[in-house]
Amino acid sequence: MSVLVYVEQVDGKFKKSVFEAVSYAKAIADKQSANLTAISIGNVGESELKELGKYGASKVLNVSNDQLKNFVNQAYAAVIAEAAKKEKSDVIVLSNSFSGKGLAPRVAVKLEAGLVDGAVELPQLDGGKFQVKKTAFSGKAFAIIELTSAIKVIALNPNAFGTKENATDTTIEAFNPEVKSTDLAAIVKEVIRATNKISLPDAELVVSAGRGLKGPENWGMIEELASLLGAATACSKPVSDADWRPHEEHVGQTGIAISPNLYIAIGISGAIQHLAGVSSSKVIVVINKDPEAPFFKVADYGIVGDAFEVVPKLIEALKAHKG
């Protein structure tokens, strides 16, 4: 038995969600008395690879190949499947990131493996069954999925498990399976990163605003609050529909579903579709001048007040708190 975890790199570095996936995979490996191997694809330095040992990976397969410098899911899936065969892995873990969502299904088909994406808990292994809980109906429910295949693939939701240090001696092994040219048919021409922006799906803190802000010119205070907190910014659907904010900031049932530690909703009434995508947030704060806004029913903390008066005061209070 062996567990394999794919560790996604960004410009040669691992993000927190990777250490979370390794921590999760290590917990599964421990449950099965199995070894944990990580596979890294792209050009990652040895000291960064060694970091994976802190979270329990006892071996790292390092695929360093210029053809695979950019993410191409067809080729990456082939490499991961080869690694799974080499390591005789029966469980493969990935992050349910944008890339993971394109990758996990291809790995699953290659290995004829059942797949649970959007996993939020460790598998339950009672009575010989292998069951994984995942989000469903955009956060309005959870589904317990039983995987009946010999090999299982799990894509873990960001912020669902947390990181757990588990220092282990790590060996790094070069792994260079052949890459078929047909697997490289999709060519990445350009990668554009907004370096000063916190990625919304991974964010632990999110400040979000809605139509109550009255117009895009009023987002300065939202960005300032987010910046002080080290939070990502988000918005409701009407706001992105009106082009006040970009589509990739839209959270909710037809936008991005998120589960940060803190979600601050400002001037958002809380339509059922919006709540669906944010209700798994650990702590919800709502600021709205309408005391009857449905969002207050799911909030942990609330302020009934006008955003244009409350948010500047909140910014001042936060500055004072940070000293």
Partner: protein
Amino acid sequence: MKILVCISNVPDTTTKITFTNDNTQFNTSGVQFIVNPYDEIALSRAIELCEGGKGTVTVINVGEVATEPTIRKALAIGADDAVRINAAPRDAYFTAYQIAEYAKSNDFDIILCGRESIDYNGSQVAAMIGEFLDIPSISIIKKLDYDGSTATIEREIEGGKEIISVSGKFIASCAEGTAEPKIPNMRGIMSARTKPLQVVEAKEIAQLSKVQQFETPPPRGAVKLVPAEDPAKLIDLLHQEAKVI
């Protein structure tokens, strides 16, 4: 150019989600079903790419006869014809296999679908079809241009975007931004009744996963209100009590 658009039949976004049979089945009683909103975006982009006689759009759904009103809605939006694979979808693997098998024997240049379904929130079908057909799959795209042989695609990544070029057949899953969803007009609704809807029987494939049970999230506690004049109190609570800042 021939485009195949995969559509899923999902509960309306306003649906209150409940379950029956000891929480093992979704309660469909009184639920309105719709074209999955992301699939509508994919369909709209497909129709735009084929405007002016540049091609045809076929929609495909894996579902039993009850999904036909949803398929007719897609035809009313502007698809030329439709296919229904006659089976209750078991999981994404089953659905993707059926669509891939149909696509193998019918020559499509592009296959599009939504980034995920809003019921099981799976974003699996597109990439699985790609793997079954051994063609590139590009997930969660925001823009798609096509010159008749090469597509230029913008894909969302954490904290940015990628521009991808792909020649030959491919499948992509569409997110918001790829197109504005189209609303059917009266002419579309009338013509949808007479557009071809082919029914194809499903093929057998091993079942690799099954839903055992559903759960609803535990109710949250009552909101703790902080006076609007004293936001510092909120900062204290988030720091001391909730320990999130």
